[in-house]
Amino acid sequence: MNEKALIEEDHYENTNLRDNTIVVDENIVYQVPKTLKDADFHYCPGCAHSVVHRLIAEVIEEMDIQSETIGIAPVGCAVFAYNYLDVDMTEAAHGRASAVATGIKRVLPDKYVFSYQGDGDLAAIGTGETIHTCNRGENILIVFINNGIYGMTGGQMAPTTLVGMKSTTSPMGRDAITMGNPLKITELVAELPGTYYVTRQAVYKPNLVRRTKKAIRKGFELQKDKKGTCFIEVVANCPSNWKMTPIESNHWLEDNMIPFYPLGDIKTPDGRAK
């Protein structure tokens, strides 16, 4: 008999379901992290933002760094990240999160500082701040949610929108000649000497969620080295503005986004860059 079955058998022998004594500390294998506030996410069902929020909260809890962590929320769907993540947070102007993070980290160099930004925020209006923050090698973690669209404002074209992909401002599909090509900013920042750890992850499958969590943990831990910027892209879905069900959006992401935005480490501290 495997371990799980043993535990279950044990339960039925020793607990009285009617008294709800099944929910006791020794039985708990998974619960809401202490670092998430008691609030319902406003994100659309199936949206990757919720998953990544939870992963960040889990990492902060597991590393026991809640009291040493300061987050920066973007302008984008994640603007209310501070309503969920139970850490001190500052809400930045659109695109400026990494400059705000720089200001905080420079005066509090021993704290853990992370920014959480969408693709419009980080790779369009905030491109300058993103590149210069990474180039200076600020010892912060940047979590970059690339859903190929402006989620919050209702589905306009983002710098990361794929060629041919429809949005409200590329209704016939993105045309590279008149609208430009999607920007692979993650590869771009990996070229900069200031970045320390650059990786691209996704959360549309359980094993990928686990990998993303590991990357986030690494991104926080590496801040202790003070050797440069950690940059984690999460290729994400936006079921609402892609006009798909959550499941469809995950399939579409796998079939279309991942070939253009391949997953994996792009730069690692030990030099095993891809």
Binding site: V79, V87, T90, V100, G103
Partner: protein, 356 residues
Amino acid sequence: MSEAKLMKGNEALAEAAIRAGADAYFGYPITPQSEVLEYLSREAYQRTGMIILQAESEIASINMVYGAAGTGKKVMTSSSSPGISLMQEGISYIACAELPCLIVNVNRGGPGLGTIQPAQGDYFQSVKGGGHGDYHLIVLAPSTVQEMADFVKLSFELAFKYRNPVMILTDGALGQMMEKVKLFPQQPREDIIQGWETIGKPEDRPSNVITSLHIQPDKMEEINLHLQKKYREIEKNEIRVEKINCDDADYIITGYGLVARICQKAAELARDKGYKVGVVRPITLFPFPYQTYFELADKVKGILDVEMNAGQMVEDVRLAVNGKIPIEFHGRMGGIVPTPEEILEALEKKIIGGAE
């Protein structure tokens, strides 16, 4: 205690920032104020550990200020007109989030890229808000290199007292000219934790959030009402104005900053000619000394407002006297500094001649 030194206005301001115990400066070069960043880069970190960072733009600078100010540190930036225009979005966020900080504007001639010569064309932008939404900075207008230094300390005091951004509004001439300054002694850098800062949440307090986003209209109105209440409080407590020879005056010349000194010279020339002329120099541009002008309007025959712009503060002077006496304007633009003689001429022509 304090030594007298011959210093450029910009350098005196930078030195004062170090001595005031400032924790960080984020800025981007622009004439005529680059000496602030240069001076600080040379010695601030070595002397007090003050963080100095040359950002990639004024947009980045002001957002670095926003982040660092949110930790409760004494933080500042400086720039000149075009750079200050770029900062306006960030300043609006800082004002709404109620973060203390110092922003220095060494005003140059505009609009556009304009000129690197001194001007006062940024009065409206500085005292009426500047960015989007209803907010005010506390605006101090030094008229000597001494005040360039002293107002840095005062700015940080006011910024923390009211949790409000403070602007020192000066100009390219004051920034560049050398005068004797008595510097105040070095103050320690110290953490003043008031409880709202984002510095990492201990277990026993809820998380601190710095934001200017209040999506519910009633909440956003509440925030606005709170800000307005604070501005009224600032108006009650913090008006600073200098009145020179106003007691027996028949006429007043008024101006702020460098211009106030030229006005003083013009007033002396006028007195030599037998006219009783006084000078009013607003030191705080927000809050503005409306009452001073209102009261003088019962005693004097007219006021000449002099500015290095097309007439901005004059609107507040007119508002203050509410039509009781004539208010005339004399201005130079494009980086030209008015002379005492031309001010006297304008006074004689527009005010004394007009009143008699």
